[in-house]
Amino acid sequence: MSILLVGLNHKTAPVEVRERLAFTDETCATSLQALVDGEVIREGLIVSTCNRVEVLAATGRGQDAEANARVNSFLSDARRVPREVFSPHLYTHADDAAVRHVFRVASSLDSMVVGEPQVIGQVRHAYSVAVEAGTAGRVLHRLVHHALHVSKRVRTETGIAASAVSISYTAVELGRKIFGSLKGATVLLVGAGEMAELAARHLSNAGAARILVANRTHDKAEEVARKFGGAAVDYSNLTEHLGEADIVICSTAADAYVITPEMASAAREARRNRPAFIIDISVPRNVDPSVGKLDNLFVFDVDDLEAVVTSNIREREREAERAELIIESEVMQFQQALRQLDIGPTVGALREKLQAIADAEYERLRPRLGTLTPEQEQAVKALLHSTVKKISHPVIHRMRRSHDTGDEENLQAWREIFGLEKE
């Protein structure tokens, strides 16, 4: 059994090519049934996301070249795209390289943002589509499950997904670093904007209990507060409300400082020195930078958050190197498991063994046959070989069937009868 992967991704192909090759779920199922012919392509699966289109196929041993050609023409036929459009962008991996690629994709090492979690769901989904279409068999079943296992290992054993790589999520992460849990925290939104609301949404999902909204126009504050089930508060009383908030998100269009050190000190006193986290995502800045010099107040502006994101991405890339080591060892383990799945060597060994018996018997009794013409000699040999073949054919057929149904016990019985070593 051999594994073949043909595809393209965001690194090799521009979006104009990717979108032309992309499959929807419905086209995916019917196309898969067209692709899998049971002879060359035994099993098939298509991973189609906005960043990649990949065809994963299980083929017979030694059929790689033929399978590759079939997958290529399949892509062109199924999506009605001329080959020249996509073939320069294609990559083709076989066996170890294909397994490694699948593991890397499922572990999110091949993603645009390394460590992003969506790709796991996408792989799982691609598999369930193939199962429903009836094109995923034993090999792909093992491969996908192994890939999901590897992905889980990589996530728990490396820090590949440990740190936030978006500004709004970085706010949550820093909040956790300061407060531990965000459960019960009070968030004050000063002004409103897309990014501020996104950060507030993340904080609320992380457990923040109260969202207060202050805005120069009170109606706008009420509108935003409704979205979060929060409360609109009086903008002119900002100092007082700062004292209530653990986390402040500032994003007004004001061109002067909205939060001054005096206000911040007063608020801190009201909070009995408990720490506060102030996020300033407005440009020009709304929070006087000297607020950040006060003890127990942690101020982050847009540039600070960007810098955190950049360093987190670098950290993920460092961790990805450790993930590659895990993947290498898992690829080896998978290949071992796959070899056990493979019936080919057993069938070959059986044929060879029976042939050898026939040849030995021929050699032993040859002198008794007297002089034969070369034609006669050939005929005797052919007779022996075809007898052996006819006898072994139903046996091999049965062995294959035991193998396909996963009946290891039966298969082992066949091996023992013929004295074959298990590979």
Binding site: K177, G180, N273
Partner: protein, 271 residues
């Protein structure tokens, strides 16, 4: 019992190494090994102390090697409690290497022959002496936890203010957690220290009528007591960085108290 102590030492060394590895590599499996070895080490250590107590016939807190071994034991107890309450695994990176070092030192030291435990078992209030020493060692262990929490606080506070994060930033518990650990440990330590000083005064006055000997250890102990009292009193005003620095300073005084007894001698000395 030396073999038990060696076994405990081996377990602590394994735990210390695995804590450092887990801290650097962030592996759950490594953390489990560390935790398991601490458990084994603690069990062995407890048995070693009990065996000494039964074997030597005196409370195992008299000679220097006994005292520091007991100190290490109280540190493991304090670490275990903090771990149970706060799940702060990172504390192990600070605690276990030091515990291993102290047990190592303890296994090398022998009791001085010119001093016998009878020195402290005479008089009517002799029963107060082991209570005095035990309370103080537990107090020191609490102050050590407060110190470790303070260091973790200061490291993180600095990184948050400078907005540059080292690789270890993510391995440490949150600011609020370490602040809480620090203040709780300091309060517990302060209570134990007060009780320890009190029992010491009672023991000494019952023994020879003197409450105060102008001993370096007594002076340092009172300084420590005043410092932690101040820290607890101004807890809300000085929350955060200032409190963390006090935690560090307090522990420095604790170390001075210990070294004072060791190097300067006087009334308080270890056999």
């Amino acid at each position: 019992m030396k073999p038990l102590l060696y076994a405990a030492l081996a377990a602590y060394v394994i735990a210390a190494i695995h804590y450092v590895l887990a801290f650097v590599n962030k592996r759950r499996a490594v953390e489990r090994v560390a935790l398991l070895s601490v458990g084994c080490g603690f069990l062995m250590h407890t048995l070693a102390i009990l065996a000494d107590w039964i074997g030597d016939g005196h409370y195992p807190l008299f000679h220097l090697h006994e005292t520091i071994s007991f100190l290490a034991w109280t540190m493991v107890v304090a670490y275990g409690l903090a771990l149970y309450r706060y799940r702060a695994q990172a504390l192990g990176v600070f605690t276990l290497p030091l515990v291993a070092l102290i047990v190592f030192a303890s296994s090398f030291l022998r009791g001085a022959s010119n001093m016998t435990p009878e020195r402290v078992t005479d008089g009517s209030a002799a029963w107060l002496f082991p209570i005095h020493t035990t309370l103080l060692l537990f107090a020191y262990a609490s102050f050590f936890v407060a110190f470790a929490a303070s260091v973790m606080y200061l490291l993180q506070e600095r990184e948050l203010k400078l907005k540059t994060f080292s690789a270890f930033f993510h391995r440490l518990p949150s600011l609020s957690t370490v602040d809480d650990i620090g203040s709780t440990a300091a309060s517990i330590g302060f209570t134990l220290l007060s009780l320890g000083i009190m029992t010491g005064i009672l023991w000494s006055s019952a023994r020879n009528g003197r409450m105060w000997h102008n001993d370096p250890i007594e002076i340092f102990a009172v300084m420590t007591w005043v410092l932690y009292l101040t820290m607890i009193h101004y807890r809300t005003q000085w929350r955060g960085r200032k409190a963390a620095w006090l935690g560090v300073a307090g522990f420095a005084l604790v170390v001075c108290t210990f070294l004072g007894a060791l190097l300067m001698g006087g009334y308080h000395m270890f056999g």
